[in-house]
């Protein structure tokens, strides 16, 4: 045991014995979902996040000076886990970063029959190559159309943002958050990010619309967005509702065990009935 840990341990143990405040829950680190708050009013469209994202995850690095990619709205792809888009709005041009939303109850993980798509304990949704069999049901299910598939590979992978899961385990922030020069991106616990977001909206009602995208969309997402203009002008889907997507299949899945055990019993009953019918007919005929 390391010295520091030893002190921590004895200190906490002492507190417990003293019966002052520490409960068992406080000794074990609490698992809370993390997320990122995107303040689109602060984004200047420099695309530094795109570059660092590609570098971090060994993807082709975009040539942001010359590729003119902001001209048209882009989607994430099998070589880009995130993209920045430019939108002409009533309040001038606005830049929006787009990547996996890291839903609280993701459709992709509910869809995955091998648990390759996995909601980690702290919130990021990651893809695990050793489990995936490439059925692409996650792509069918994702309301944001985020998972992308390498169609031209014999060892195809699903490519999507992992919120830099490896970096988070090392105690670092996601690469894009660290690279952002204007603090448009902020990493933290979702609970705390929601408070910050509300403070900004309430404190500057003239600068923000009264909505935090991701607060309750599809049951809430890890990534949250603030905007000065209505979100439908920024390419956000407004028709997704607040029901977590896995709930669309729960009724069906609950019915499965009922049918699996109820139907055979019913069929056996029918069969017995048919048999006894035959016997009674045979007896009458005699």
């Amino acid at each position: 045991m390391k010295r520091r840990n030893f002190f921590k341990f004895t200190g906490l143990a002492g507190l417990t014995i003293a019966g002052k405040s520490a409960s068992a829950q406080e000794i074990e680190p609490k698992k809370e979902f993390v997320g990122v708050l995107v303040d689109t009013t602060r984004c200047i469209g420099c695309r530094a996040c795109e570059v660092t994202c590609s570098e971090t995850h060994n993807l082709p690095v975009p040539d942001i000076k010359n590729d003119g990619a902001l001209a048209a709205e882009r989607k994430t792809s099998e070589t880009q886990w995130m993209v920045v888009n430019r939108y002409e709005t009533e309040k001038g041009e606005v830049f929006v970063k787009k990547q996996c939303m890291h839903c609280w109850q993701p459709a992709c993980t509910a869809a995955c029959l091998t648990n390759a798509m996995y909601k980690t304990e702290t919130g990021p949704v990651i893809w695990r190559s050793k489990k995936c069999m490439g059925c692409r049901f996650c792509m069918i299910s994702c309301p944001f159309d985020i998972p992308k598939f390498e169609y031209n590979s014999t060892n195809p992978k699903i490519q999507k943002c992992s919120m830099c899961w490896e970096r988070l385990q090392e105690g670092k922030k996601p690469a894009c958050v660290e690279a952002c020069p204007t603090d448009a991106l902020m990493f933290g616990l979702k609970r705390e990010l929601m408070e910050i977001a509300r403070v900004r909206v309430y404190g500057h009602p003239q600068d923000y619309v009264h909505q935090i995208y991701g607060e309750s969309e599809v049951g809430g997402t890890g990534w949250l967005y603030l905007s000065a203009v209505p979100f439908d002008q920024l390419g956000f889907r407004m028709d997704l509702g607040t029901t977590p997507y896995p709930e669309f299949t729960t009724d069906f899945l609950y019915a499965v065990p009922v049918v699996l055990f109820g139907l055979p019993a019913f069929l056996m009953g029918l069969n017995l009935l048919a048999r006894s019918n035959e016997e009674s007919i045979a007896e009458k005929g005699r």
Binding site: K75, S77, E78, A107, A110, A111, C112, L113, T114, N115, A116, S129, K130, K131, C132, M133, G134, C135, R136, F137, M139, I140, S141, P143, D145, K148, F149, E150, Y151, N152, S153, T154, N155, P156, R237, D239, L240, Y245, P246, F248, T249, D251, F252, L253, V256, V259, L260, L263, P264, L267, M268, L270, N271, A274, R275, E278
Partner: protein, 402 residues
């Protein structure tokens, strides 16, 4: 050492191997139109599959990030399985309800169902990007219990086993294994009940796959009742297929049928059409119910509205009426036409949900590549080859000769 001195078991084994070899050999005539058409398709399909497995799915398919599921899933698996539903309906009628009238067709229907599952559900493997990981959801190192796909995959596997058991008495008879046949026949009812239960769940499960595609499927086709609609339509789709396949087999495999099969043919078709009529109207009223419940008449004014009316009226309501009329008039030809229309309707419905009305507003729509279509034709051809081989050798439509 003379022949007599050999142990009995070895002798039996040699006899068995010789019998199998003689049965595997193709029988003349070789240059039938069917062979001439399907052999090039099968060879071409094989070449395409070599490209698919050495260059990736993108080399031969038109799949994209927008359309992750194409013709191989939408037609081969989702539609193919619906049309293979005949087996569980017929086994229900014959083994559970003990209706002897349909006994002559039970073997051939189960064979058809089994092969359809092997080939069409098997086609799923061609579409998997990482097929070597297919063992993961089977051996239990990673079970996605909350996935509809997990349920469908497992039920496919277990249903194939159940159908194989249902068909196994015929194989035992073909091989002359009388004791084993008796034993296998005894467990048929169990296999049938298990099979019907699995079918109910995976037929509806195929529909449930699309529940999370809410917002991607045109609202005229998306409803929370997709699983029930898929189940109801698989009943008359399966029955219609049995009617059509029966009619074709009746002509093509005349020589392999005994008189019992030939004589009861028309009676059976009319009887099956009766069941199909009930199922198709139940399905139609379910469709109507969702239509009214979701106030969908407001959506009928464009192409998609027209397309929907075409599917529901021309290919559900009209074949339903034709089947009913055919039963009343005892006219087998009207029943056959009605069955074909009903089959087209189910194909259209499955393709609409999985491909055509899926991302109906996308800028670039998906259309299958010629390679995807050839591979599909290859799968159908291979299935018919195996079917023909089994029917011409095993006592499927006749009593055993041995």
């Amino acid at each position: 050492m003379t022949k007599q001195e050999k142990p009995k078991l070895t002798q039996e084994f040699v006899k068995f191997v010789k019998f199998i070899i003689s049965e595997i050999k193709p029988k003349p005539p070789y240059f039938t139109p069917f062979n001439v058409i399907t052999i090039p398709i099968i060879l071409l399909g094989m070449i395409i599959l070599v490209f698919r497995f050495t260059k990736g799915l993108g080399a031969v398919t038109n799949l994209s990030q927008e359309f992750p599921w194409g013709f191989w899933i939408g037609f081969d698996v989702v539609t193919g399985i619906a049309l293979a539903g005949g087996a569980y309906i017929i086994t229900f009628i014959v083994y559970v309800m003990r209706s002897e009238k349909y006994h002559p067709i039970v073997n051939i229907t189960v064979l058809n169902g089994f092969l359809a599952y092997v080939f069409y559900a098997g086609a799923l493997i061609l579409d998997l990007g990482r097929p070597w990981n297919i063992i993961n959801p089977i051996i239990g190192n990673s079970f996605g219990f909350n996935s509809v796909m997990f349920l469908v995959a497992w039920h496919f596997l277990m249903y194939m086993a159940a159908e194989f058991l249902e068909f196994s008495p015929v194989i035992a008879e073909w091989l002359g294994w009388k004791k084993i046949k008796k034993w296998l026949s005894a467990i048929t009812l169990g296999a049938v009940i298990f099979g019907i239960t699995l079918s109910t769940l995976h037929q509806s499960g195929l529909g449930a796959l699309f529940l999370m595609a809410k917002g991607k499927i045109h609202p005229l086709w998306y409803s929370e009742f997709i699983p029930i609609l898929f189940f109801a339509s698989s009943i008359f789709a399966g029955l219609s297929m049995v009617i059509i396949e029966g009619s074709i087999s009746h002509r093509v495999f005349k020589d392999h049928m005994d008189s019992e099969h030939k004589d009861s043919h028309n009676e059976i078709i009319i009887g099956l059409a009766k069941f199909a009529t009930v199922a198709i109207f139940v399905y139609y009223f379910f469709k109507l119910l969702t239509f009214l419940h979701n106030k969908q008449w407001t959506m009928l004014n464009d192409f998609w509205g027209f397309w929907y009316v075409l599917e529901v009226v021309v290919f559900v309501l009209i074949p339903g009426c034709m089947l009913a009329f055919g039963v009343k008039q005892r006219n087998v030809n009207i029943i056959r036409v009605g069955s074909i229309l009903a089959i087209v309707g189910v194909i259209l419905n499955r393709l609409n949900i999985s491909i055509i009305a899926f991302k109906w507003d996308a800028a670039v729509k998906y259309f299958p590549s010629w390679q995807e279509i050839v591979v599909t034709l290859m799968i159908i051809s291979l299935e018919i080859w195996v079917f023909r081989w089994v029917v011409s050798r095993m006592p499927v439509m006749r009593k055993s000769k041995r």
